[in-house]
């Protein structure tokens, strides 16, 4: 019951939001999302980390003719992703308090439906159920970008939808093929993922047109688009730049993980031979993504676009780790998924906070921000450290493990990935320098007196000022963050250090599953624990 509750409680919340009076929607949503998070914490008591099997199973027939069940369960791979989703929702609600000013009701309905679909994707153990959640999650995100997004939102949201849908429809055909394969090999039709693991899918090395390779690429394409992996990443910068802050946070922090999760749940265990044979290709594309994302991020004048391309770079690490196919790489990949969720989510929130005040995301408009907004600066720099993998932060653990795994698998790719780490430090620190230090930019205000005089008095005039971009007196803008925003950032900053200092607190919950995945890769089975 627990898992179903986690999946469908947000749907109930969405219905409640639909009926509440406009004024109480925000506090009520915050309360409900906190409740949802609290419920997900029950998993810590119910989940047994020492077992690699699937736990807390629920299974009821849905479409028995095709062996399709409503089949959900959890293991070490999905465990943290579920927690990450529930953890971020309250932060997003709180973070969008002033960012979303129109159609508040519809926004929160979208948010809860999205949360439901995302958790459903991570918990589904039936391929068709997974597909249903995977696709259904597109719709709320499509509306989130399209309704509350920026100037080119319609283009961005359409591109996002078509790209993702294009990949996943080929996956649907592959799923159908696997379902018929279960009928041939296991006797009964089944769409459940543990049954897919039992299949012996014919594979011929060196031959492009064999069953396992074709199915492997059908799945890999769907997930690679979602990750997104170079060269199918182009929807991501558009979607991120146009999405409203909460949309960017969810998209970066959780939705991209559906892709990498798909690789761990479907691609590696179901097609072990093809995955091993083609691992070089995915490592190569991962490394290209790391370097390409970093180089493009470096030259971006727009902070949000910079963060978006840094996402491409970071997800490249995850792919490199996963396809290193050894325990370091895969563990690092999973850890980096969580890190990326926290650090990139935090970066988008930070950029959003600044944008709300000045309505500009151009790096050139800023400078010397450290003087007027010290707390904001400290938060930003901590998150930057996490993003560029400075030791003591979570990013270090993840990237270190991935590089270790990458070197073990292939020295050349490992070497280039290290280059990516340096580039990552370059573009992030350079951006930090330009935004926070040096001479005050045109939106930050001139002399040292700005910080004091402007406090509180003119805070509400942010909009008016931004409307006239050429207005030269911006000294009235209060760029420091308030208490609500500190509440949003504090849990993320705490997690950055917690995950950096005590990684085993987190990895122990996934260790058994990941060990099992790597050791029995060619003959992967998952016990279903009733």
């Amino acid at each position: 019951m627990l898992l179903s509750l986690l999946i469908f409680l947000p749907v109930l919340f969405a219905l409640i939001v639909a009926m509440l009076p406009e004024k109480v929607i925000r506090p009520a949503s915050l309360l409900m999302s906190l409740l949802h998070f609290a419920l997900s914490l029950v998993l810590f008591y119910r989940f047994n980390p020492s077992s690699a099997g699937l736990q807390l199973i629920e299974k009821t027939p849905w479409l028995p003719t095709f062996g399709v069940n409503y089949f959900v369960g959890i293991d070490g791979i999905s465990f943290w992703l579920v927690i990450l989703s529930t953890f971020l929702t309250p932060l997003v609600v709180l973070g969008s308090w002033t960012a979303i000013t129109e159609k508040i009701r519809s926004f929160h309905i979208c948010l809860f439906l999205l949360s439901s679909a995302m958790i459903g994707t991570f918990l589904a153990l039936d391929a068709i159920l997974f597909y249903a959640f995977f696709e259904a999650s597109l719709i709320p995100m499509y509306f989130m970008v399209g309704v509350w997004g920026g100037a080119r939102r319609l283009y961005a949201t359409m591109k996002f939808f078509i790209y993702t849908m294009a990949g996943s429809l080929f996956m649907l055909v592959a799923i159908i093929a696997l379902i018929f394969m279960t009928q041939e090999q296991l006797g009964t039709m089944s769409a459940s993922i543990p049954d897919f693991y039992k299949l012996q899918i014919p594979f011929v090395a060196g031959d492009l047109l064999n069953t396992q390779t074709i199915l492997f690429f059908a799945f890999a394409l769907a997930f690679a688009i979602k990750v997104p992996m170079f060269p199918v990443h182009t929807w991501l910068p558009d979607a991120h730049v146009e999405a409203p802050t909460p949309g960017s946070v969810i998209l970066a922090a959780v939705m991209l993980k559906m892709g990498t999760y798909g690789f761990l749940r479907f691609v590696l265990p179901i097609f072990p031979l093809a995955a091993e044979y083609w691992a070089w290709l995915f490592m190569l594309l991962g490394v290209i993504g790391i370097i390409y994302g970093a180089l493009v991020a470096m030259v971006q004048p727009d902070i949000k676009k910079l963060v978006a391309y840094s996402s491409v770079s970071h997800m490249g690490y995850v792919m490199l780790g996963i396809f290193a196919l050894n325990i370091y790489g895969v563990t690092g990949g999973l850890y980096q998924m969580l890190n990326h969720g926290i650090s990139t989510g935090a970066l988008f929130l930070l950029v959003g906070m600044l944008y709300e005040r000045t309505h500009s995301r151009q790096i050139a408009d800023y400078g010397g921000l450290a003087k007027v907004a010290p707390i904001y600066t400290i938060a930003f720099i901590i998150v930057t450290f996490s993003s560029i993998a400075v030791p003591l932060t979570n990013g270090f653990i993840g990237e270190f493990l991935i590089l270790l795994g990458g070197f073990e698998a292939n020295k050349i790719f490992g070497g280039f990935a290290v280059l990516g780490v340096i580039l990552g430090a370059v573009y992030m620190l350079w951006a930090v320098k330009r935004i926070f230090f040096g001479a005050p930019g045109k939106l930050v205000g001139g002399g040292g007196d700005t910080g004091h005089g402007g406090h509180g008095v003119h805070a509400g005039h942010g909009h008016g000022h931004a409307a006239h971009g050429s207005h030269d007196d911006h000294s009235g803008l209060d760029l420091e963050i308030g208490a609500r925003e500190m509440f949003v950032l504090a849990p993320l900053v705490i997690l950055i250090f917690w995950m950096g200092l005590f990684p085993s607190d987190f990895l122990n919950w996934s260790k058994a599953s990941l060990d099992h995945l790597v050791q029995n890769r060619t003959n992967y089975q998952l016990n279903v624990e009733e």
């Binding site: 479409l63 068709i128 949201t157 055909v173």
Partner: protein, 492 residues
């Protein structure tokens, strides 16, 4: 030959009788009152009585296979199922017709009469067990449709559409009749069971029979708007009054495809001599999917867009038909087709229904721009249209997704993966044009003052119900699938 028939025969055809009788009642009333149109609501009530009585008469016949009138009509699972679908579409289309701006209020009685008799024609076609009866049914509904298109209040386009449909439709009917004559010439019978049992044999040995069979199929493909016999569909669908477009797009297809399934059940597609034609048909399907989707992609007019999309959907459903055919009448393909007929009927008639509510004038041709800001003005109507469009795109958990899932499954099962892949490519293209109206409704502001939405309660109820049905059958598709399976099982 002495023809005998008894009460049981009349009971079996009672749905058609009920439709016909109740379609005459308003007409008679109008004549008695000196050609004065009575209240449209009263007319609608008579029509509803007929349709629901027909449904009531149909229900007891479900489950058993019976023939009537010396075997001229057959009542089995397929016909019972198609009957329900057609009657359902008729009821909805009648509702729309009453509320539509394009219906001439002085001729509503005639519209109802023709629509109900078109339904009688469709029922005749799905019950037919004899090629002549098939032809009679086909002509009956076609003639009713030609007239109804021309009766629109809109003066120019509808006349053109009616004429175009009439000319091309007659041509297709002639081809079909030509085919039937060849078949009769070689076998000496038009009785379907006799033909179907020997089809395999005859196809392999007799060239004239092969020609006749192919021509018969071409006639059906024309009615189903499959490439290269699709060109009439966009013009006719756009020119016809919207409620009638909804009726044509669903009822005609349901009747045609149901009969097509009967031909497929003869296992004709497994005959080696017939394979070249099956190959050609596969390419026709691929082109149908491509032309339908690319055509819809380029349209500004919503009605025309839906017309092209209905061509694309014909392509998808034909994938299942081919799978049913080459798999030696495989159940999976046939159930896929039947399931898709229902899901297609629900979502298409719903989408056209929303369109007709948005049309301010008889001659208005809605474009995507006209939908701008609808979500703010009519949130529930916008939501209903969104659900219907998402279902047409095939996004879970709607019935449209499961429709495609069953069709693609049937294709994969028969090794027709390439057809499934083309279906997928078509679906990807379709995402763009199905979501564009959603973008306009939710994400854009109206530039000019929007027209009044025609919120007649019955139509509003109907489209809401259809949108709900899309979701219900999507989440609980198994019960519907079982019903379809049972209905097809007796025939295949």
């Amino acid at each position: 030959m002495e023809i005998q028939f008894g009460l049981i025969d009349f009971l079996l055809v009672a749905p058609a009788v009920a439709l016909f009788v109740m379609s005459c009642v308003p007409l008679l009333i109008k004549v008695m009152r000196g050609n004065q149109e009575q209240n449209t609501m009263a007319t609608l009530v008579y029509a509803y009585t007929g349709v629901f009585a027909a449904m009531g008469f149909c229900l007891p016949t479900i489950g058993a296979t019976r023939t009537a009138f010396e075997g001229a009509l057959v009542f089995d699972g397929v016909s019972a199922f198609a009957t329900i679908v057609i009657l359902f579409c008729t009821a909805v289309a009648l509702t729309f017709a009453r509320d539509s701006q394009s219906t001439n209020p002085k001729q509503f009685t005639e519209t109802v009469f023709l629509m109900m008799n078109a339904a009688v024609g469709m029922l005749t076609m799905v019950w037919a067990n004899d090629l002549i009866i098939v032809f009679v049914g086909l002509e009956l509904f076609s003639l009713c449709l030609y007239m109804m298109i021309a009766m629109s209040l809109e003066e120019k386009v509808s006349k053109e559409a009616a004429f175009k449909y009439f000319i091309l439709g007659s041509f297709a009917s002639a081809l079909m009749l030509y085919g039937i004559s060849f078949i009769y010439g070689t076998v000496g019978s038009t009785y379907l069971p006799e033909l179907l049992s020997s089809t395999q044999n005859l196809l392999a040995t007799n060239r004239l029979f092969l020609l006749g069979f192919v021509l018969l199929i071409v006639g059906l493909l024309f009615k189903a708007a499959v490439f290269p016999f699709h060109a009439w569909a966009p013009d006719v669908y756009q020119g016809a009054p919207t409620p009638l477009t909804a009726f044509m797009a669903t009822g005609v297809k349901a009747a045609t495809l149901a009969f097509f399934l009967r031909l497929v059940a003869s296992q004709a597609f497994t005959v080696e001599r017939f394979w070249p034609f099956v190959d050609v048909m596969q390419w026709m399907i691929v082109l149908t999917i491509l032309i339908g989707n690319v055509g819809a992609f380029r349209q500004r007019s919503l009605k025309r867009m839906l017309a092209y999309s209905s061509i694309a959907h014909s392509g998808y459903v034909m994938i299942g038909m081919i799978a049913a055919g080459i798999g030696g009448a495989s159940m999976l393909g046939a159930t896929g087709v039947m399931f898709y007929i229902v899901s297609y009927a629900i979502m298409t008639i719903g989408a056209f229904g929303v369109l007709h509510m948005l049309e301010p004038r008889p001659d208005s041709d809605l474009t995507v721009e006209d939908l701008r800001g609808l979500a703010a003005r009519k949130p529930w109507l916008a939501l209903a249209l969104t659900v219907l469009l998402l279902s047409l795109t095939g996004i879970p958990p709607t019935v449209g997704f499961f429709g495609k899932f069953f069709l693609f499954s049937a294709a994969v099962k028969q090794g027709l993966i390439w057809l499934a892949v083309w279906g997928v490519i078509g679906s990807i293209i379709s995402v763009y044009y199905y979501l564009r109206p959603v973008v306009a409704m939710y994400m854009e502001e109206p530039v000019i003052a929007p027209a009044q939405v025609n919120m007649r309660p019955l139509s509003y109820f109907a489209v809401s119900f259809l949108a709900l049905l899309v979701l219900v059958f999507g989440i609980a598709s198994e019960p519907l699938y079982q019903v379809v399976l049972a209905s097809v099982a007796k025939v295949f």
